[in-house]
Amino acid sequence: MTALLLLPPLAALLVGALAATPVSGVLTRLSGVLTSAVLLATGIALLAHRGPVPTLGGDLLRADPLSALMLAVVGAVGLTATWAGLAPRPGPDEGPRPAVTRTDRRYAALVAVFLGAMAIAVTTDNLGLLWVAVEATTIATAFLVGHRGGPRALEAAWKYVVLGSVGIAIALLGTVLLYAASRSAGEATLSWTRLVSGELPLDHGLVRVAAGLAVLGFATKAGLAPMHSWLPDAHSQAPAPVSGLMSGVLLAVAFYAILRIRAIAYVVLGPGLVRGLLLAAGLGSLAVAAALILRQRDHKRMLAYSSIEHMGVLAIGAAVGGPIALAAVLLHLIGHGLAKASLFVVAGRMLAAEGTTTIADVRGLLARRPDVAVPLVVGMTALLGFPPFALFFSEVAIVLSGWRAGLGWAMALVVALLLVVVAGLVRATASMVLGPAHDDAPEAAGVTRAEPSAGLPSPGHGADRGPTTPLVLALGVTAVIGFVAFPVGDVLARAAATLGLS
C-alpha cells in the first residue's frame, strides 16, 4: 500500500518528462489524461484500503481518507478537463492531424507537472512540503495561463504569479511560525498528525498568529475575497482545460490546506479564530461574486466569479464545522470540481465556435449548436445547485447545519446572496442559449463571428468540438453522487472524520 503513495508523483514526473521530449506524439497529446487516470486510480485504491494509514518516508507522504478522497477528486476533475479538452479526431476531409509542436510539448509537460504537484500537496503530512507543492502549482501554471500569448494573457500571467506567490508567501510565514511553536514545545516538527494530536504544549499566542497567517495565505490561492483579484483574469485567459483544472481542483487543493490548518487551530485554540476568518472570507466572496456576476459581460469571467462564489460556500461550510457540514463541504468540492471543469471545456468550445466569449454576442446556441448548448445548460443547472445535482444537497446541508450551530443571520445572508448569483447566471445562460437560430439583427456592429466549420486556426487546445463522453460522465456523476449513500456517504464521513469532530 505504501508504494502506491509514490505512484502519482512518479507517474506525473515520468509522463511530464516523456511528453517534453519528441519521443511520441501520442504520449504528448495524452499526457494530462494519463496522469489524471493514474491519480484517480490511486485515489480510489487508497479509499478502498482499510487498516493502518499508509505512510512513507517519515511524515513526507501519508494518505488518510481525506488525502485519498482529494487525490481521487484531483484525478477525476483532471480526467474530465484533459480528456474533454483533447483535440477531436480529424474528419476524412480534413487531412491528417497537425504535427506536435514544441509549444504542444511544453503544454503537455506542464500539465503533467501541475497534476503531480497537486497530488503531492494532498498526500503529504508535512506542512512544509504541502506549501512547497502548492507553490509549485503556481510555477507550473504560470506559463499555462500565458499559453495563448498576447498582451491579455501576459497581464493575467503576471498578476497571477505576483499575487499568487505573495499570498502563498504569507502562508509560508504561518507555516514557519507553526514550526517555531512546535520547536518551543520541545519537538520540532511540521507533521500535521503530530501538530493536530494535541499532545504538544503549543504556545497559544504563536499558534494564533501562525494559523491566521497560514489561512490568509492559502485563502489567496483559493481565491477567497478579498484576495481574489487575480482569479478572474487567470481563469479567463488560460486555455479551457487549464481553466477547468485551476477552477475545478487547484482552488480545492488550496482549500484543503485551509482545512488542515483549521484542524490544528481548532485543537489548540478552539473554534473562535478560524471560524471568524472563514466566515468573513466566505461571506465576502459570496458578496463579491454576486455583485460581479450580475453585471458580467464575459462568459469565462462569469464562470471564474462563480468559482469565487463556490469557494465562499466552502469557507462558510468549514466555518460552521461539525461532521455534517464538513462532509457537505467535501461533497461540494467534488460536485463543483466536476461541473466547473465541464463548463470551462464547453466555454472553450463555444469560444472556438463563436469566436467570442462575450455573452451579448452569443444567441440561439440551442438551435444552432445543441452539442455545445446542452452540456452548457446541464452544467449550469448543476452549478446553480438544482436537484438532483450534488451541489443542491451540499448547500442545503451547509445552510441547515449553520442554522443549528447558531449562525442563523449568516445563513440568511448566504441564501440571499446565492439567490442573486442564481439570478445572474440564469439570465446570462438563457440569453446565450435561447433565441432563433439565425437572428436577423444586423451584424455590422463590429462583431466578426467566425464560421463554425471554417477550420479556425485553432491553437490545438480549443477546437469547437471534442469528446462528449467525459462531459456526460462528469455531469452524470454530479447528478447521482448525492444519492449514493454507500460507498460515497461512507467515504465522505470517513474523510470528514480525519479532521476531528470539530
Binding site: L154, V166, Y179, R301
Partner: protein
C-alpha cells in the same frame, strides 16, 4: 535596534552571539529601508546582495550557537542561503535589468506612487507596527526557549516582520515590473529571517523546496517581464489594464 539592552548578563560567547545577531538583523533592516529610499534599480539589486550576505551571517551565527547536532545542517543551509540569495537571485534580476536597459527600458523606478520622504515615513510607521505585532511571536518563542534558540534571536523577530511589511510596501508602491520583483525578494528574505530567528530555519528538505520555488518564481517573472517589454514596449504595470470588469 538595541537588542543587547534587553539581555541579562551572559558569558562572552553568548554576548558575541547576541552582538552578531543584532548586527546581522540591523544590516537586514537597514538594507530594506535603503531599497525603499534608492530609486536606482541596479543599486537596489546590490542592496539585495548585501541582504543575502547578512542573512547567511545570521544563519551561521544561529547555527554555531545552537546544539551541536543541528550545527552541520544549519551550516549547509547557510551556504545555500549565501549562494541563492547573495549571488544567484541578484544575478538573475541584475542580468534581466541590464538587458532591459540595453533595450531602452528605464534604469530608475520612476512610477512610484509615494515620494521618497513619504515612503520613508511610512517605513518608520511599519517598523513600529512590526514591533507591536511581533510581541506574541517573540514572547511565544522566548518563554519556552528550549536549547537552541536564545533570547537575542527571539527579540530580533520584529526585523523579519518589518522586512515582510516593507516588501508589501514595495509591491504596492512601485510600478515597474523589476521593482515588484525586488519587493517580492525583500518579502521573501523577511520570511527567511523570521524562520531563522524563531526556529533556526525550517527542516532541510523544506528549505530546499522553498529555495527552488523562489528561484523558479524569480526566473518566471524575469521571463514574463522580457515578454512584457517585447510585446507592450514597456515594463510599467500601468501598461497592463486590459483585464477588468
Amino acid at each position: 535596534m538595541s537588542v543587547a539592552g534587553e539581555l541579562p548578563v551572559m558569558s562572552s560567547t553568548a554576548a558575541a552571539t547576541a552582538q552578531l545577531i543584532a548586527l546581522a538583523a540591523g544590516a537586514l533592516l537597514v538594507t530594506s529601508v535603503l531599497v525603499v529610499w534608492r530609486r536606482e534599480l541596479s543599486a537596489q539589486v546590490r542592496l539585495l546582495t548585501v541582504q543575502g550576505v547578512s542573512l547567511a551571517v545570521l544563519a551561521v551565527t544561529i547555527g554555531l550557537s545552537g546544539p551541536r547536532s543541528a550545527r552541520a545542517e544549519l551550516l549547509v543551509v547557510a551556504v545555500l542561503v549565501l549562494v541563492l540569495r547573495a549571488w544567484l537571485l541578484p544575478w538573475v534580476v541584475g542580468r534581466r535589468l541590464r538587458a532591459g536597459i540595453e533595450a531602452g527600458d528605464a534604469a530608475r523606478e520612476d512610477g512610484a506612487r509615494l515620494n521618497p520622504t513619504a515612503s520613508l515615513v511610512l517605513v518608520a510607521l511599519l517598523t513600529t507596527v512590526a514591533y507591536l505585532v511581533s510581541r506574541p511571536i517573540s514572547a511565544g518563542v522566548a518563554t519556552r526557549a528550549g536549547g537552541g534558540i536564545s533570547g537575542p534571536a527571539a527579540f530580533a523577530v520584529p526585523v523579519g516582520v518589518c522586512m515582510v511589511l516593507i516588501g508589501f510596501l514595495l509591491l504596492v508602491d512601485r510600478r515597474r515590473a523589476m521593482s515588484q520583483l525586488i519587493g517580492f525578494l525583500v518579502l521573501d528574505n523577511g520570511i527567511a529571517t523570521v524562520a531563522f530567528l524563531t526556529a533556526a530555519g525550517v527542516p532541510f528538505a523544506v528549505e530546499l523546496g522553498v529555495s527552488s520555488d523562489v528561484l523558479l518564481v524569480v526566473l518566471i517573472l524575469a521571463v514574463l517581464s522580457r515578454r512584457m517589454q517585447a510585446q507592450l514596449g514597456s515594463t510599467t504595470l500601468d501598461s497592463m489594464t486590459e483585464l477588468k470588469d
